[in-house]
């Protein structure tokens, strides 16, 4: 009886250590969120997001921080000044703020976008707000962006 108890105890300890090790290993190697397979927390038109930040940048900053946002807009330009970091700049008439969507390095659809000239949808993670401290205009920063083909 005593021998059986010892064996069971050893097996239990081994199982616990194995499970903890596997969990730690999985957690350690966990990759950053894959936006292609993750649902957005907010699905908005650019005008709505710009309006939110125009009303209160601090409230909106807290609301959207680290959230996944899917944005649709038709007025945009492409900042290609850094060839390794393309950025799509979404804007709207009557707003002094722009939304800068830094494309994920895996995003390969930029060529299609350049030729479409249509409304676009972008999904990314809200990273922060750059107020117009340097005289360069205020920007809403969205990172790791991917283009959604609708």
């Amino acid at each position: 009886m005593k021998k059986r108890t010892i064996v069971y105890s050893i097996i239990t300890v081994i199982i616990i250590i194995t499970v903890l090790t596997l969990y730690a290993w999985k957690e350690y190697n966990r990759k950053p969120i894959d936006l292609r397979n993750t649902k957005a927390n907010y699905t908005l038109y650019t005008k709505i997001l710009l309006n939110d930040f125009s009303l209160s940048d601090s409230t909106s900053n807290a609301k959207y921080m680290s959230q996944i946002i899917e944005l649709t807009g038709s007025e945009y330009s492409i900042d290609s000044s850094n060839k390794s970091a393309y950025t799509i700049v979404l804007s709207e008439k009557d707003f002094l703020i722009s939304i800068r969507c830094s494309l994920d390095s895996t995003e390969k659809m930029l060529g299609i976008l350049l030729n479409s000239g249509k409304e676009i949808t972008i999904k990314g993670i809200y990273t922060g707000y750059n107020a117009d401290d340097l005289g360069l205009g205020a920007d809403i920063i969205i990172n790791k962006c991917i283009l959604i083909n609708k």
Binding site: N29, K31, M65, S81, S84, T87, S102, T127, N143
Partner: protein, 187 residues
């Protein structure tokens, strides 16, 4: 009519000279490397939404970096960086304000590679410290490319590394800056 045209050309000429005193980017790149020597664990992150502006008239230079914009290969490292080390929610930005100390030796109107010495104040994690760094300014095709590499002591900015991982995170992080600046027009 002729004199009006000359005046107009002169005015446009002066405006364009003035407009090109400043160069800027919003897509600058900064990487942090806090890998311990000979360690297999690579602790590296990059941020490609760095804002940088330089005034070629005065030599003043500024950088602004959103801490949440740093991207890591592993999610856990990114979480620890934001929550435990730099406390991004509390201190969302890192800012450098300074000037090029050998500004007079750089000819911004002539293409070439120039050595630059920068002195200024770096604010990170709510702490401000004077720093000095050396780098290069490449003036080519109407753009300025600024590159530099320097070390930053984490303790100077009250960034504490837990004892449990002290042997895995370097006490001095290597910072690499690579920004391509365009002339600031119509601003």
């Amino acid at each position: 009519m002729k004199s009006f045209l000359s005046l107009f050309i002169l005015f446009v000429g002066i405006s364009s000279i003035e407009a090109q005193d400043k160069y800027y980017t919003k897509t600058g790149k900064i990487s942090i490397n806090a890998t311990v020597n000979k360690s297999l664990e690579n602790i590296e992150a990059f941020n490609k939404t760095v804002v940088c502006i330089i005034d070629t008239k005065t030599g003043e230079i500024q950088f602004s970096v959103l801490m949440k914009g740093f991207e890591f290969e592993r999610a856990l490292m990114m979480e620890h960086f934001n929550e435990n080390y730099v406390e991004s929610e509390k201190f969302p930005k890192s800012v450098f304000k300074g000037a090029i100390s050998n500004h007079a030796s750089i000819t911004y109107t002539k293409e070439g590679v120039y050595q630059a010495k920068v002195k200024g104040k770096m604010t990170l994690h709510g702490e401000s410290k004077d720093i000095e760094a050396e780098g290069k300014i490449l003036n080519k095709n109407g753009k300025l490319t600024i590159t530099t590499m320097f070390n930053l002591t984490l303790a100077d900015y009250k960034i504490m590394v837990p004892k449990l991982v002290a042997d895995k995170v370097a006490t001095n992080a290597k910072i690499t800056v690579d920004c391509i600046l365009d002339p600031l027009l119509n601003k």
